[in-house]
Assembly symmetry: C2
Homo-oligomer: 226 residues x 2
DNA sequence: AGTCACACACTTACGTCGTAAGCGTGTCAA
DNA sequence: TTGACACGCTTACGACGTAAGTGTGTGACT
């Protein structure tokens, strides 16, 4: 006698840590990080919430896991490129990734248990700097400025929920309407003359600061070489 | 006949929005932001949780409120100082404030309803830059780099929960012990030769990046003046 | 073939959270 | 005296994360 399971078509693919984490990312991408609950995650996977615990330790484990997956999405150019373009590319890649996963920037800065992809990324950043001639101390400084800026910028930006510049103009107008312009004249001016302008571009804003930092890091590097 | 309330000594000071917000800050300072719940907050104020709603709209209102209070703690030098030292002082003040309130950095970057102190602070930062000769666009760029760095740095740092450098050495040693050093050689090297060194100082690290950014902002300012 | 262990989904239940709804009771103006 | 209002209290509801225990199918051994 054949097993019964074949007939009553229920070929549900087995759960796994990976499937849980991927579903968690999809859920967070769709509804924000606060919509990521064990029950909803179970629902999306057609499983009861408690079944998830067979594959992850607890919710913190899921958060650590998806943060590490996001880190693995960030491109890190191989060792052949010179340090400046390598850093530039990985920073821009990081910003793109954090744009795809708006919930990630706050999480990446607040989790304390780095996963393998996270460690790998950091290690190769430091490696790239060291090979370029940075001392350990200078590499630490460089690492600190760059990453503070990259993740700080991403988080500042993701609070302004619009994406295109037309939306931006509308939003800015709304803010302005309920803003006592005479109390905050400079703020009002900046919103009107800058953020509301049609060409306003966050990517450009990001790269301004990024290049400022990268150029600033070049000087002490040259000094160290002499 | 006198009122009875006089006799049975219960002179409890009346609740108010301000008292609620201050107690919330104390609570968050003591036990972290996740220990700030309506019930615990009520307990500390010797009141039931629901009574708080007579003075604040909801918990988000409390979060917005304490963020604005934290902003009001940040010093902003008056208009007489030159822009660079003004920016330097307010950045260092911000870092000190965020060190006193470790929960604040993540909150300040994620709230979307700025309060009056927040707006005032931002307005006077922009004002200081404009008076120094920055164009609107350049002021926006400067504002973006500085604040991304300031709050990004604060948040990176507050995850490393130790404070003194001796603690830092111990923690670093623990991290290292469970870190496969041969898989992440550069990371291991940096922890050993840098973070574990007794003189390691986060304030110095912060000021390195800060000065790098401030110096970088000087060049385009001079160009704009010609 | 029998059985034994294990992997893994399910059920139930607990304590905590934010907060809606409604009930006192004191104070103060008319 | 009365009536309105300010403001604290009680009860209750539907989330949430997760501890504890119950099935059931599969694959490895005798």
């Amino acid at each position: 006698m054949a097993t019964q399971t074949d007939l009553s078509a229920k070929p549900r693919t087995p759960l796994s840590r990976e499937r849980v984490l991927c579903a968690a990312i999809v859920l967070a991408d769709r509804g924000g990080i606060e919509s990521l609950t064990m029950r909803r995650l179970g629902h999306d996977l057609r499983v009861e919430a408690m079944s998830l615990y067979n594959h992850v330790a607890d919710k913190d484990d899921i958060l650590d896991g998806i943060v590490d997956l996001v880190f693995s999405e960030i491109a890190m150019p191989s060792g052949r490129a010179d340090w400046k373009t390598a850093m530039r590319l990985r920073a821009i890649s990081a910003r793109e990734v954090l744009l795809r996963h708006p919930w990630a920037s706050s999480l990446m800065q607040s989790r304390t248990k780095p996963g393998p992809a996270t460690l790998r990324h950091h290690d190769s950043v430091i490696g790239s700097l060291r090979e370029a001639g940075f001392t350990v101390g200078m590499a630490a400084h460089a690492f600190s400025v760059m990453d503070s800026y990259i993740y700080g910028f991403a988080q500042q930006q993701q609070n302004l929920t619009f994406t295109t510049s037309e939306e931006a103009a509308v939003v800015a107008e709304n803010i302005l309407r309920q803003l006592p312009a005479d109390e905050y004249p400079h703020l009002a001016e900046m919103i009107i003359e800058h953020a509301m302008k049609p060409g306003y571009d966050y990517a450009e804003e990001f790269e301004f600061g990024l290049d400022l930092i990268l150029n600033g890091l070049e000087r002490p590097l040259r000094n160290a070489r002499n």
